[in-house]
C-alpha cells in the first residue's frame, strides 16, 4: 500500500511536464491543431521513427556482444573494456557529432591527411541520415550494454549447464536459454536508445538531419511558438507510449529467477580460445570509433586551443559541480527506481503499469521542454525552490529516472519472490524486507541504472542553463560557453575533463566484481 502510494506520488512528479504541455496546448487549442495538422508533421514523425529504428538496431548489435564478452568470457582486460564501452555515453551528442564532422567531413582532418599522398580533394558528405545514425548509434549503445551486462551477470548458470548437458550446442543454448532471459534488459535498453534518438537535438542539428525534435526546437528558438512546440511534444509522448507498449509485449511473462532452492553460484567464464583475437578486435573497433576517435579529435583541438589560456581553476570548480549534481541525481534516481521497479515486477496491474509508463515522460521529451515545464510550475507553486540546486536535481530526476528503472527492474526479475516471502514469514516488515533483502539482491541492476543516470546527467545542458542557481557552472555549461562563441575547439578541454572524471566514477560502479 505504502509502496503504491510512493509509486503514484513519484509518477505524479514525473508527469509534471505532461501537465504543462496539456495546459499550454489547451491555452490555444486551435493553433495547436494547426501545427499538428501540418502535412510536414507526419513526414517528420516518419523520418524520426526511421532514425530511431535504425540506431536502436545498430546499438543492440554493438551493445549485446560487448556485454557478453565483458561479463561472461575470459576476454583479456575485460574490466577496462567494460568501462571503456560505457564511457561514450558522457560525450554530449553535439560534441560527438562535431568531432565526427571535423574528422570525417568533406573538409575534415581525414581529408587533409589524404590530400597530400593521394590527391583526395573532397570526401563523401556524411551529414544527413547516415551521419545522424552513425553518431547516435556510437554514443547510445552503452544504454544497451550496461543493462544487458548486469543482466548477464545475474543469470543463473545452472540453466545453461542443463541445456549443454542435454546435448544442445552452445549457440542453441544461447538462443533458447540465455537470450530469452536477456529480453527484459535488451527491451529496456532499446526503449532508452529509441527515446534518446527521438528527443536528441545535438546530433541531428549538427548532422543537418531534419527530425521531429529539430522542428520543436525551431518553434521555440525561431518563433517563440510555445503552443506549437507543446503540441509537437505531445506527439513525442504518444510515440513513447506506443514504444513502451511494444516493449511490454516483447518482454512477455517469463519467469527469470531460479525456482529451485539454494543460491546460484557465479557463472563459469567461457574461454574464448581462438576467438580471442577477433573478440579483441571487435572491442577495439567499437571503442576506437566511439571513444578514441572523438577523444582524439578533442585532444587535437585542445592542443590547438592551448595558444589561448585555459582557465583551469574554473574548469576544476565546474568539474566538482558536475560531479555533485549528477552524483546526487544518480543517488536519487537509484532510490526512486527501487520502489517503482518493485511495484512493476511484484505487483503487476494497471496502476503499476501506468505508473511505470508515465515515468518515462521526461526522458521522451527534449530537455528544453522539461526545463520550461519546471519553470512554469516552480515559479507558480514553489517560488522558494526556483533556480536552486534541489530543483536542478529534481529536474534531472524527471529527465533521467527511466534510465534507472529499466535496469533496476531487469535486476529485480532475477530475484525470486520466495526469498522475500521467507523473510516476511520470519517477521520482517515489508520495508525491512525491501531494505535488507530485495535492494541488495537487485543491486547489480540498480548500480547499472545509477551509472546510466550519472553519465547522462553529467552532460545535461538545457535544464542546467535555465534551472541551475545563478553562477553555478558545470562542465556542460563550460563547454556550451566555449562553443557558443563559435569555437568548438575551446570546448575540447572541458569535454576531456568530463571524460576524465567520469571514468573513475564509472570504474567504481562497474569495476566491483
Amino acid at each position: 500500500m505504502l509502496l503504491a502510494l510512493a509509486g503514484v506520488a513519484l509518477a505524479a512528479a514525473m508527469v509534471l511536464p505532461l501537465a504543462y504541455l496539456l495546459v499550454t496546448v489547451a491555452d490555444s487549442a486551435e493553433a495547436a491543431i494547426d501545427t499538428v495538422g501540418n502535412s510536414r508533421t507526419l513526414e517528420l514523425i516518419a523520418r524520426s521513427a526511421g532514425l530511431a529504428l535504425a540506431a536502436t538496431t545498430a546499438a543492440v548489435a554493438l551493445g549485446m556482444p560487448l556485454a557478453w564478452l565483458t561479463a561472461r568470457t575470459d576476454l583479456p582486460g575485460r574490466r577496462v573494456w567494460a568501462v571503456a564501452a560505457a564511457l561514450p555515453l558522457v560525450i554530449p551528442s553535439y560534441i560527438g557529432a562535431y568531432a565526427y564532422l571535423s574528422a570525417l567531413g568533406p573538409a575534415g582532418l581525414l581529408r587533409d591527411a589524404l590530400e597530400q599522398p593521394f590527391g583526395v580533394e573532397r570526401l563523401p558528405d556524411i551529414t544527413g541520415f547516415f551521419g545522424a545514425w552513425l553518431v547516435l548509434t556510437l554514443f547510445t549503445y552503452p544504454l544497451i550494454f550496461l543493462p544487458v551486462r548486469s543482466a548477464l551477470r545475474g543469470l543463473d548458470p545452472q540453466l545453461e549447464e542443463a541445456s549443454l548437458g542435454l546435448g544442445h550446442s552452445p549457440w542453441r543454448t544461447f538462443r533458447s536459454v540465455v537470450l530469452p532471459q536477456l529480453i527484459p534488459a535488451i527491451g529496456a535498453g532499446a526503449v532508452l536508445v529509441a527515446l534518446y534518438v527521438l528527443h536528441d537535438f545535438g546530433a541531428v542539428s549538427i548532422m543537418r538531419f531534419d527530425s521531429f525534435t529539430r522542428e520543436i526546437f525551431t518553434l521555440y528558438r525561431a518563433s517563440f511558438d510555445r503552443t506549437g512546440a507543446a503540441a509537437l511534444a505531445l506527439i513525442l509522448v504518444a510515440l513513447m507510449l506506443v514504444l513502451l507498449w511494444l516493449e511490454s509485449r516483447a518482454r512477455g511473462g517469463f519467469v527469470l529467477h531460479r525456482s529451485a532452492p539454494g543460491t546460484k553460484r557465479p557463472a563459469r567464464r567461457i574461454p574464448l580460445g581462438r576467438w580471442r583475437v577477433p573478440a579483441l578486435l571487435f572491442c577495439g573497433l567499437v571503442c576506437g570509433f566511439s571513444l578514441v576517435l572523438p577523444a582524439g579529435v578533442l585532444v587535437y583541438w585542445s592542443l590547438q586551443s592551448f595558444a589561448g589560456s585555459t582557465d583551469w581553476g574554473g574548469t576544476i570548480e565546474a568539474g566538482l559541480s558536475s560531479l555533485l549534481v549528477s552524483g546526487l541525481a544518480a543517488l536519487a534516481a537509484a532510490a526512486c527506481a527501487i520502489p517503482l521497479a518493485v511495484l512493476s515486477v511484484r505487483y503487476p496491474g494497471s496502476i503499476s503499469r501506468m505508473t511505470e509508463r508515465f515515468s518515462y515522460t521526461g526522458y521522451a521529451l527534449p530537455g528544453i521542454v522539461v526545463a520550461l515545464a519546471l519553470v512554469f510550475f516552480a515559479t507558480r507553486a514553489a517560488p522558494a525552490t526556483y533556480q536552486t540546486l534541489g530543483l536542478l536535481v529534481f529536474a534531472f530526476l524527471v529527465l533521467f529516472l527511466p534510465l534507472a528503472i529499466g535496469s533496476a527492474r531487469a535486476g529485480l526479475q532475477q530475484v525470486s519472490p520466495r526469498v522475500e516471502e521467507a523473510a516476511r514469514s520470519l517477521g520482517r516488515s515489508p520495508l525491512q524486507v525491501m531494505r535488507t533483502i530485495t535492494a541488495p539482491l537487485m543491486a547489480s541492476g540498480v548500480f547499472a541504472g545509477a551509472a546510466l543516470v550519472f553519465l547522462t546527467a553529467i552532460k545535461e545542458l538545457p535544464a542546467t542553463l535555465i534551472l541551475a542557481p545563478i553562477g553555478f557552472e558545470t562542465l556542460a555549461t563550460e563547454i556550451w560557453n566555449a562553443t557558443n562563441v563559435g569555437f568548438f575547439e575551446r570546448g575540447a578541454v572541458p569535454s576531456l575533463v568530463l571524460l576524465a572524471i567520469s571514468a573513475p566514477s564509472l570504474y567504481l560502479l562497474i569495476g566491483r566484481e
Partner: protein
C-alpha cells in the same frame, strides 16, 4: 552497498559546502539579475566594470537568447530577472508582445537612432550588425557586384555563392525580406539562389573562410566577421564586405539590445544597467571587441567598417522580426532547408 554509503556521505558533504557557498545572497539587497543571451566571454568584462563602478552586484544567467526569452515568458509575473540582454531584436519584440517589458525612461531610448529601438520605448539596441555580401577581393571588385541582393539569382553566380540557411542571422534577414519585399518575391529569390547551386555552410565564419580560400566567390554574412579577420590576418586578407547600394533589405542592420523585465523587483537598478550599456565607454567596448556598430549618436564606428550613415537602410521595424516560423516554412518550401 558500502560504496553507495560512502558516495552518499561525500555528496552530502559537498551539498553542505555548496549551500554554504550560495548562502547569504538572497533577499533584495540591491543586486540586479540579468538574463544574458550574449555570450559570457564578450560581456563578462563589461559587467565586471559595472559592478566596480556602481558597487552593485550583478547576478547573471547566461543562455541561448531564444531559450531565455521562452523562460521569461514561462516565468511571467514571477520572474526573478530584472534585465534581459538579448542577442537580437526579435526576442525583445516577442517579450514586448507578451507585455513582459517595462517602459524605459523617456530619455534613454532617445539617445538611440529611431530604427534601432522599440517604437513603444520598451527596449533599446545596444550595438548593431550589418548584413553584407562578403566577396573575394582577389577575384572581384565592388563594381562587379549588383546593386541589389535580389540580383544574385542571376545564373552568372552559379556555383559561386555560399550561404547558411540554418543560421539565425540569415533567417532574420529572410524575415526582413518577407516584410519589405513580400512573400512571393522572397520565395522567388530563395528559389533563384537555390537554383544557383550555393555551397551550404553552418555558420558565418565557415562562409568567410571558404571565400578566403577561394572555394566560393561571395557569401551572405554579418559585417564584423570580416572586420575581425582583417584585424587578425592583416590587410592582405582577401575578403572584403559590400553593402548593397540599392537601400533594400540586403543592407539590413540588426541589433543586440536590452529591456527591463517588468516583473523584476529592481527596476531602478535595471534602468541604471541599461544606461551603462549605452555609456560611451561601453559603446566603444562593443565597437573595439566585436567590430559591431555603436548605436549611441556621436560615437564613431571602428575605422575598419563602413560608417552606419553611409549604409542605405531598408524601412523596417526590427521588433517585427519575431515571426521566423513563416520564414522557416518558406525556406523549406523553396528547398533552401
Amino acid at each position: 552497498m558500502r560504496i553507495l554509503r560512502l558516495a552518499a556521505f561525500a555528496l552530502l558533504a559537498l551539498v553542505a559546502l555548496a549551500l554554504g557557498a550560495c548562502g547569504g545572497d538572497d533577499g533584495d539587497d540591491g543586486t540586479i539579475t540579468v538574463y544574458s543571451g550574449r555570450e559570457e566571454e564578450l560581456v563578462a568584462p563589461l559587467f565586471e566594470r559595472f559592478e566596480e563602478e556602481t558597487a552593485t552586484e550583478l547576478e547573471v544567467r547566461y543562455g541561448d537568447t531564444a531559450e531565455l526569452a521562452a523562460t521569461l515568458i514561462e516565468e511571467g509575473e514571477n520572474s526573478p530577472a530584472d534585465v534581459f540582454f538579448s542577442q537580437d531584436a526579435g526576442a525583445l519584440g516577442a517579450l514586448e508582445n507578451e507585455e513582459l517589458l517595462a517602459e524605459l525612461d523617456d530619455e534613454t531610448p532617445e539617445r538611440i537612432a529611431e530604427p534601432y529601438r522599440s517604437q513603444d520605448g520598451r527596449w533599446v539596441g545596444t550595438s548593431g550588425r550589418a548584413r553584407v555580401v562578403a566577396y573575394n577581393s582577389e577575384k572581384l571588385s565592388e563594381s562587379d557586384l549588383p546593386d541589389s541582393i535580389l540580383d544574385f539569382n542571376d545564373p552568372k553566380w552559379k556555383g559561386r555563392i555560399g550561404w547558411a540557411p540554418t543560421n539565425g542571422s540569415f533567417q532574420a534577414f529572410v524575415t526582413a525580406m518577407r516584410l519589405t519585399e513580400g512573400e512571393e518575391a522572397t520565395e522567388e529569390w530563395l528559389r533563384g539562389i537555390a537554383a544557383n547551386d550555393p555551397v551550404v555552410f553552418d555558420d558565418n565564419e565557415a562562409i568567410r573562410d571558404a571565400i578566403a580560400s577561394g572555394e566560393i566567390d561571395v557569401g551572405f554574412i554579418n559585417h564584423y566577421y570580416v572586420a575581425q579577420a582583417i584585424e587578425e590576418e592583416g590587410k592582405d586578407y582577401p575578403v572584403r564586405v559590400y553593402h548593397p547600394r540599392g537601400g533594400d533589405v540586403g543592407s539590413l542592420i540588426n541589433v543586440a539590445g536590452a529591456g527591463i523585465v517588468a516583473a523584476g523587483d529592481n527596476t531602478e537598478g535595471a534602468a541604471e544597467f541599461i544606461e551603462f550599456l549605452l555609456a560611451d565607454s561601453s559603446q566603444r567596448y562593443f565597437s573595439e571587441e566585436t567590430k559591431e556598430y555603436p548605436l549611441v549618436e556621436g560615437i564613431p564606428a571602428d575605422p575598419a567598417v563602413v560608417p552606419l550613415e553611409r549604409i542605405e537602410q531598408p524601412p523596417l521595424e526590427l521588433g517585427e522580426l519575431d515571426d521566423l516560423e513563416g520564414t522557416l516554412e518558406l525556406l523549406q518550401r523553396s528547398g533552401a532547408l
